[in-house]
Subunit: 337 residues, 2 copies
Amino acid sequence: MSTISDVAHRAGVSKSTVSRALNGHRYVSTEIRDRVVRVAAELGYVADSSAASLASGRTRMIGLLTSRIDGWYEAEVTTGVQEFLIEIDHDLVLFSGEDTAGSRARLFRHALPRRRLDGVILVGTCPSPSETTDLASSGAAIVTVGTRTSAAPSVGIDEAAAGRAIAEHLISLGHQRIVFVDSSTMSAGASARTARAQGFKAAMRSAGLPARLRSVRGSDWTQVGFSAFRSALDSDTLPPTAIIGACDELALAVLAASRSTVSEIPDLSVAGIDGHPHSALFDLTTVQQRPRLQGYEAARHLHNLLTDPRSPVLHVTADARLVARGSSSPPPQFPNS
Amino acid sequence: MSTISDVAHRAGVSKSTVSRALNGHRYVSTEIRDRVVRVAAELGYVADSSAASLASGRTRMIGLLTSRIDGWYEAEVTTGVQEFLIEIDHDLVLFSGEDTAGSRARLFRHALPRRRLDGVILVGTCPSPSETTDLASSGAAIVTVGTRTSAAPSVGIDEAAAGRAIAEHLISLGHQRIVFVDSSTMSAGASARTARAQGFKAAMRSAGLPARLRSVRGSDWTQVGFSAFRSALDSDTLPPTAIIGACDELALAVLAASRSTVSEIPDLSVAGIDGHPHSALFDLTTVQQRPRLQGYEAARHLHNLLTDPRSPVLHVTADARLVARGSSSPPPQFPNS
């Protein structure tokens, strides 16, 4: 079996350069790195990460924790995290799964610490104080994405502002009866959805309008869409002229339900929050965020913490902007502006 | 710092039971496992996976390799893989990123081997013979999902049959001018898409009809949808009465484009393949597959290979079925059946 000396000799560099090249330090030229990787492959030399991590105390592994990887937001954040980790040659260990007390205890006490991860990125979920302690005692740095806690740096949009912006857009079009619908079963990121609802309520209050909120359950988006649509109608008051979905996936489901139903509401406006690619496709008004950039930024910040533990605890507010499309228009009783 | 003996003593079990419980062997009762995990947490004992893996030769880590994690199919497969890995207490290391020659070389020669992964699941991509050798020499077992190679077990639907089924459905409705559209930039799994196109061609040939195929490029689904729609029309022959998307995401994009365009084609039928949740939402006819189950099955099979290396190389054909919905109907010149 080849040794690091063999690789250094054949590649014409020092042993420490071989180590730096194979471990992806940024201060090795691409040319030397490619040559070392090629020579190492030719000689069948593979640095053993178990042995290397025992020696260095660093595993070059970052954990990513999320309740679901099949949500648009979570998958985009993960893609951005991965993009940065490839640049610094770290690997991503994915911890996704249902977010119950039992599974969280298993994660924070057992699965996360045993890997001696250099850091953990939590997507759409915050660590409790004891979980933060558990992680810190295992030596892992923490960054959250899409949620904010005082204990760790975070990256995410101002969720309440997003909720306000979409409500204010509909109010400015002349809507007065607006319902905000949410679904705990299908949308990830409970704290983000709660903050969006708060923003909606604040905007309605400022405009002197009643804030109507509905929460529905369902096992798939079609079901959730119909439930949300029906629950928005099912009320003692007049039906709404506009419905806001807590996220685009929910808003799209409501849009589909409203179109396939013989509607009692002519020209119902529907709007969401997120900027899911299907929002453009189906002409849905939304507040557009860019979670891929958020993931990249979170990984970059985590790397800063690892290379300089004195880095400040930063809360990065990512950009989001209203994108008005065909799904929102003035309510029927108002003439077009 | 606590030792394994401390945990064994406090939990009232043997050291080997502590080890088995913390390493997730299936033959430890849930009650004992929970007790050991709790006691280990109380005492602050964490098995060091680096040291453990040097001793056992097993890392209890499975790599998952895919060109993108933000595609519906890939995210669903990953969810299923994760579900099984949680059951056997293994961790998932995610390798996603653009699929270029350079990045693949880096992956197979460097990133994958250095982790001493017990196994690797390739989603939507096949290993080349030399890549198979690289992986095998690092001791990792291989299973592919959504693609098939003779070198490794695989799980996936019969992609050609899916392409045939959707074509035959449209032919049976009376369609004769059908275009199959594909996009290499937005859909993952090149080999699956090629096989689907082959199935489409076979069905058209059997029916004595011309098989028209179009491939388009674009940076987002909206763009791809419009390009595909226009390219299906842009032809010396009569416009098609039906368009098949190589995957549901593409078919939905075509559907949206066709609806937002002043259409030269009354009652255009559109159909896809996959069973994306938005296909139900937007009433898209499709061939429904269940990638989450495929991921679970692939991880289970990988585990079998690890526990018994004599396990046969199996190719599991997952189920898929036609789901006819409102987006497909007889062409205008035919009376409704």
